[in-house]
């Protein structure tokens, strides 16, 4: 018997995704441990986002199994769930590489849409809500409190009534994370959360993400190109190249792996030195 804490939250086993003849991901296996930040890195086109899309149900994997373990008795096979149930039942939330906020809705509305299923139940599938029943109002108030709590955490309380599309880029990135967190996920998948952020914003992001991890409810899986972010906050790194895993371990182990360095910059020695400098070796 494995105990809950030793059982990984997400087990990816022999995941393969083909588009026609192209193998985007080939026989990939890795684990996302509970209470940790796991980073999925690799050069452009390595298949990282495809892995994300398989985990979150936007693509159905060609082969392989994706198991999400809530506890010893509750497992979800993600490849069999429709995408909305992956969020609602299996409790996996995600963000997108090209931010997908509801641009024409306010910041606050974005966070309330994220609590749709809870509120939908409370509103008696709109019937109770239509008559403004007390039970619904209470639940709506709770949802508002939760939204405001997250706005405070991402320092956007002042902009609650602005259109999400009006926010600066960095704020939009944080809002998207807050929106995903409003669905109370066990696993939060972040697709390049630091892309396009300035160093200060990047630092804030690190604090936000480690904060989420340290609260212990949500584990994180992130795709990232910014090595400073990856090396600072992740507990575990998985490296992909051409859809195949080439390394898997702690940040220190991975950054010393010659295969990783080679994958990133070819095998040229001068460039290896450069990348070593970049990752802080």
């Amino acid at each position: 018997m494995t105990t809950i804490s030793s059982m990984p939250l997400l087990q990816v086993e022999h995941l393969t995704m083909r588009f026609g003849g192209l193998v985007a991901v080939g026989d990939l296996s890795f684990d996302v441990a509970r209470g940790q930040i796991t980073a999925l890195i690799g050069p452009n086109g390595a298949g990282k986002t495809t892995v994300f899309n398989c985990i979150t149900g936007f693509y159905k994997p060609t082969e392989g199994r994706l198991t999400l373990n809530h506890d010893a008795n509750h497992h979800y096979l993600l490849e069999r769930l429709p995408d909305h149930d992956i969020n609602w039942k299996a409790r996996v939330a995600r963000t997108f590489q090209n931010i997908r906020l509801f641009q024409g809705m306010t910041v606050l509305e974005n966070l309330l849409v994220a609590q749709h299923n809870t509120l939908m139940r409370a509103s008696g599938y709109s019937l109770l809500g239509l008559f403004n029943a007390k039970s619904y109002r209470d639940q709506a108030d709770l949802a508002l409190q939760k939204a405001l709590h997250w706005l405070e955490r991402i320092h956007l309380l002042d902009r609650a009534d602005d259109a999400a599309g009006d926010l600066p880029y960095g704020d939009q990135r944080r809002l998207e994370i807050a929106r995903a967190m409003c669905t109370d996920p066990l696993l939060l998948c972040l697709d390049e959360p630091a892309a396009g952020l300035n160093p200060k914003e990047s630092l804030e992001l690190n604090t936000l993400l480690t904060g989420i991890r340290d609260e212990g409810k949500t584990s994180l899986l992130l795709i990232e190109h910014d090595m400073s972010v990856v090396m600072t906050i992740s507990d575990h790194v998985v490296v992909l190249d051409y859809g195949v895993k080439i390394a898997d371990g702690t940040p220190d182990a991975v950054r010393n792996d010659p295969k990783v360095i080679a994958a990133y910059l070819g095998v040229d020695d001068d460039e290896v030195a450069e990348v070593e400098a970049e990752v802080g070796l």
Binding site: F19, T49, N53, F58, Y59, F96
Partner: protein, 304 residues
């Protein structure tokens, strides 16, 4: 069997007409991603233009039938091209890149405008022309029923085939065709590479209209009558053909057109002529639901 052969011939003739109209839909959709709702009415306008030109050349100028038809065909293509050029220039181009529904509503308005314009300036009644090429070549006989192919059916199929070949060459082998395909892929990039996107789109509309005009001439020849309301149903059927063949694909549009023509004639012969339009519309719905990329369309991978 004789009935089957006869319906096969009729279906292919009708299908040629639908295929010609379908190309206009498919090209415009391919290049600007818009369902040109008024295309069916452009076809109807072209049929009227052809009818009037035909009358001018045969009754006023007393030309012989064959040269008159040839000139009518060329002139109708040019005039309908000008119509569609004007429509694109005034009703669609200013809306390009704005709200997605705006060009669609504009096109619906244009469709209403065109059919009612023709009603007002040409009158609401059917316009019959004297029958032409009435000879029929018998090809199969069974129990006294003779299946045959009419001269006009031969003319329609031959003209369609020749023009499609010409058109195919134009799109595949000329710089214009290359520019069109480039705009289809990525308008911004095409513009950066020095392609005049506006001109290419205009020419696409002109080409679509020219082929619709061919269909218009054939329609007049085949049915011998046209009415201001005749744009809508052939338009929807041609659109069905374009979707069935895979929207964006030129051979697909032709194959789709032939299929729709065959289905319509076979359905009329063997099931119910009253429900032939229901069959066409149902086919459209079924295709879109179960085969949204059509027979020859490329599958679309959702970008997340």
């Amino acid at each position: 069997m004789a009935i089957f052969i006869q319906q096969l011939i009729n279906g292919l003739t009708l299908g040629s007409i639908y295929g010609l109209i379908a190309i206009g839909y498919t090209m415009v959709f391919g290049i600007i991603g818009m369902v040109n709702f008024a295309h069916g009415d452009v076809f109807m306008v072209s049929a009227f233009v052809a009818l009037l030109l035909f009358m001018i050349f045969t009754t006023l100028l007393h030309w012989a039938l064959v040269p008159a038809l040839l000139v009518v065909l060329v002139l109708a293509m040019a005039i309908t091209g000008l119509w569609n050029w004007t429509i694109e220039r005034t009703a669609y181009r200013p809306l390009r890149g704005s709200f997605r529904l705006a060009p669609l509503i504009s096109a619906i308005g244009m469709s209403i405008l065109l059919s009612n314009l023709i009603q007002v300036i040409q009158g609401p009644r059917n316009k019959p022309v004297p029958p032409m090429f009435t000879q029929v070549i018998p090809i199969y006989e069974e129990n006294g029923y003779v299946a045959g192919i009419g001269y006009k059916q031969i003319v329609i199929m031959v003209v369609t085939a020749v023009l499609l070949a010409l058109f195919w060459y134009l799109v595949q082998k000329t710089p214009l065709g290359r520019a069109q395909r480039a705009c289809e892929q990525d308008q911004k990039m095409a513009a950066l590479l020095g392609i005049d996107v506006d001109r290419t789109i205009s020419l696409t509309f002109v080409m679509g209209a020219a082929l619709a005009a061919v269909a218009g001439v054939m329609y007049i020849m085949y049915y011998g009558v046209v009415n201001f309301a005749d744009g809508f149903v052939p338009g929807v059927k041609a659109f069905t053909a374009a979707v069935l063949g895979g929207i964006g694909s030129l051979p697909g549009a032709v194959i789709g057109g032939l299929l729709i023509g065959l289905i319509e004639t076979m359905w009329s012969a063997y099931f119910s002529i009253d429900y032939k339009d229901v069959a066409a519309f149902s086919l459209l719905a079924i295709t879109l639901v179960f085969l949204p990329t059509g027979l020859l369309g490329r599958p679309e991978v959702e970008k997340v």
